[in-house]
Symmetry: C2
Subunit: 93 residues, 2 copies
């Protein structure tokens, strides 16, 4: 089984109201010195077979067609061995 991650973020020139809301809330919670926050999406995708350039190209196609809106979002695709759930478990949360 191959695991891929697709990260999708609003383009730099696009307003990001969710990120701005977080940025505004941080000082009220006592966090100082934060310059910017952008909020996007993360997809963890499990595919049959071993990681390969061919599978990576397929996942990139999914990102282009379904997971992102290329007019307002950038995306990045990579192979990832460990899910966030696994890392959190290792760290004992």
């Amino acid at each position: 089984m191959a695991r891929f991650v697709v990260d999708v973020m609003p383009k730099r020139e696009i307003l990001d109201p969710q990120g701005k809301a977080v940025l505004g809330a941080l000082p009220r919670l006592g966090f100082e010195g934060v310059l910017d926050v952008r909020q996007g999406k993360r997809f963890e995708i499990e595919v049959e077979g071993e990681p390969s350039d061919d599978l990576l190209a397929q996942v990139r196609k999914m990102a282009e067609i379904l997971l992102s809106n290329p007019v307002i979002e950038d995306f990045e695709v990579h192979v990832e061995e460990h899910t966030v759930a696994e890392i959190a478990q290792e760290e004992g949360r």
Copy 2:
């Protein structure tokens, strides 16, 4: 300036309707062999100062208090030099 990424994902035992919707749509778009899709959030956070254990601990606290709901979500925090926008630009998209 230090850049951190906070990845927030639904816990394994929590239903993820957005991920399931993507999983259901993929075969209709001609993508076969996808076993699972989970959808979560990615935050790109810029903080004053150089990356340090102290700043990392602060961002972890933000993730706990504001960016995730620990009842239903896991999170992971790391330093990241390049944003998704920068990577997409390098790849010529």
